[in-house]
């Protein structure tokens, strides 16, 4: 039992740092990008600010759309890979 327990702990730690890394990137990074967009919208130079804000909001929209796609794809029992920036959906191997 203790051996299996140690195994579980090791597997959990293996998984959790990946979760942490991905989550910091998406869960903290995207809100920061969103905040940057709001900042540039509020800035003085109207046209430049709006263009920059638009680009930043596209980045956020990409993140949200990926999340949505992931929920739908995994609900359908598909695998989804983000390895090539554009999400690729496939049947589970």
């Amino acid at each position: 039992m203790s051996g299996a327990f140690v195994h579980d702990v090791r597997l959990a730690l293996d998984a959790i740092w990946k979760v942490l890394l991905a989550s910091v990137l998406l869960g903290a990074g995207l809100p920061a990008v969103f905040a940057l967009a709001i900042r540039s919208l509020a800035g003085g130079r109207l046209v430049v600010g709006r263009v920059v804000a638009g680009v930043l909001l596209l980045v956020v929209a990409y993140g949200v759309a990926s999340g949505l796609l992931f929920i739908v794809a995994s609900g359908q029992g598909k695998d989804i890979s983000f390895a090539h920036v554009i999400p690729v959906i496939s049947s589970p191997s």
């Binding site: 579980d8 989550s23 998406l26 869960g27 920061a32 969103f34 739908v72």
Partner: protein, 412 residues
């Protein structure tokens, strides 16, 4: 009605009851922050969350038939019930599942009364573990994984419960800190509206993800009961009515609102502003989706709570009410053993009272406890009208129970 049909009917109805409690227990995970900051009106927030949970429940065609395999040995790897438990026409397995469900429901209702967010999945696991110990002994429980992937009580319940709030807390704290740094000095009229939309979007993602994952568990449990009693044979699909009933149960539960828990999460733990709300829900959505992608089972409740705590730590000068956080952690520690004790007791009582009397007595006890808890909750009712009141514990008792509130049903 034969004894087999009776217990099957009671298991199905009790499972739907559990799904319903699962719904209102978890509304706050997605919507507490949006309600607290006023990004959404309370009723609109719970309605949005309910619709997304409904959609989420229908989105998932993957069958969660093996849901109990994580913690107990009552199913084989392909999802069919263990033959030793179905030798008597499924009676023993159904009794076990019924006991587990009642343990989970009682714990969900008690924590709701106390306004504590706690994981419905862990309550279900706890109830099943207790019933399995009572029915099969210690070896009926799958304590640890097989060494190749995370499994068992340790791998699927305890470790995720310890690690996921910490991860969510770190992510939300980092997000909050950066957001406040970035918009420092920007006029509130720009930030408030922007973050309001950010909050609604991220909270919606959390709701949708919740619908896809949690409704499935009840679908799996009901289908298991149907297979055990010989009413269903496929292990790769579930009956349409099961899917429909579970989706509706979790959505109506969500719509009911679980206001006591929403209040604790939105007002009790941290005073939340729109940027914090967005950071918290973005963190929750990211942690839930990333861990589901990596096969790390975790509870939406633990993640949401960790995220909200994190936004309190990440905002300079914000106050975290550690006493409230401490109560929550205590609740999490007790979830598994408490639900297990009730689950074991229910199995024991059901076993003693026989094939027909057992399930009836069990359900009667559950209804009695549920009624008592509901009446207790009326003494200090929380609803859409007072969910955002200043935090001084629960709102004042007695006077809060007013006639319009009774008729509108916004009392959960």
């Amino acid at each position: 009605m034969s004894a087999e049909t009776l217990i099957l009917a009671l298991v199905v109805v009790t499972a739907l009851g559990f799904d319903f409690t699962n719904g209102f227990h978890d509304t706050g995970n997605a919507m507490a922050t949006s309600i607290a900051t006023g990004a959404l009106k309370p009723r609109v927030a719970v309605a949005l969350s309910a619709v997304l949970n409904l959609a989420g429940a229908f989105l998932s065609v993957a069958v969660a038939l093996t849901v109990t395999n994580a913690v107990v040995h009552i199913q084989q790897k392909d999802g069919t019930p263990s033959p030793s438990l179905t030798a008597d026409g499924g009676q023993q397995l159904l009794m076990l599942v019924l006991g587990g469900l009642i343990g989970a429901i009682v714990w969900n209702l008690l924590t709701w009364l106390l306004g504590l967010p706690s994981s419905s999945s862990h309550a279900l696991f706890g109830g099943l573990i207790g019933a399995a110990i009572a029915a099969l002994g210690w070896h009926g429980v799958n304590w640890v994984g097989d060494g190749t992937k995370l499994g068992g009580v340790v791998g699927k319940v305890i470790l995720p419960a310890v690690l996921s709030p910490v991860v969510a807390c770190i992510v939300a704290a980092a997000g909050t800190w950066m957001v406040y740094r970035i918009v420092l000095g920007v006029a509130a009229r720009f930030t408030d509206n922007g973050f309001r939309w950010g909050q609604i979007g991220t909270a919606s993602l959390v709701s949708l993800a919740h619908g896809t994952s949690d409704a499935q568990k009840t679908m799996g449990v009901i289908t298991l009961a149907l297979i055990a009693s010989g009413h269903w044979h496929s292990t790769t699909s579930i009956p349409v009515w099961v899917k429909l009933a579970c989706a509706l149960a979790i959505a109506t539960g969500t719509y009911l609102g679980g206001w006591r828990i929403i209040r604790t999460l939105g007002k009790g733990l941290v005073e939340i502003e729109p940027p914090q709300g967005m950071a918290a829900e973005a963190s929750s959505a990211a942690v839930i989706l990333a861990s589901s992608h990596l096969g790390f089972a975790l509870s939406t409740t633990h993640v949401a709570t960790g995220s909200i705590l994190g936004t309190g730590l990440g905002k300079p000068g914000a106050e975290v009410r550690w006493a409230v956080a401490g109560r929550m952690v205590m609740g999490w520690l007790l979830t598994l053993p408490a639900a297990a004790i009730v689950g074991a007791a229910m199995y024991g009582i059901g076993h003693v009272c026989g094939d027909v009397g057992g399930p009836v007595v069990d359900v009667a006890i559950m209804l009695g406890l549920a009624g008592y808890i509901y009446l207790r909750s009326r003494r200090s009712a929380v609803g859409a009208h007072n969910v955002n009141d200043e935090w001084e514990g629960m709102p004042a008792s007695g006077a809060a129970v007013s006639a319009p509130e009774l008729t509108s049903g916004g009392v959960a």
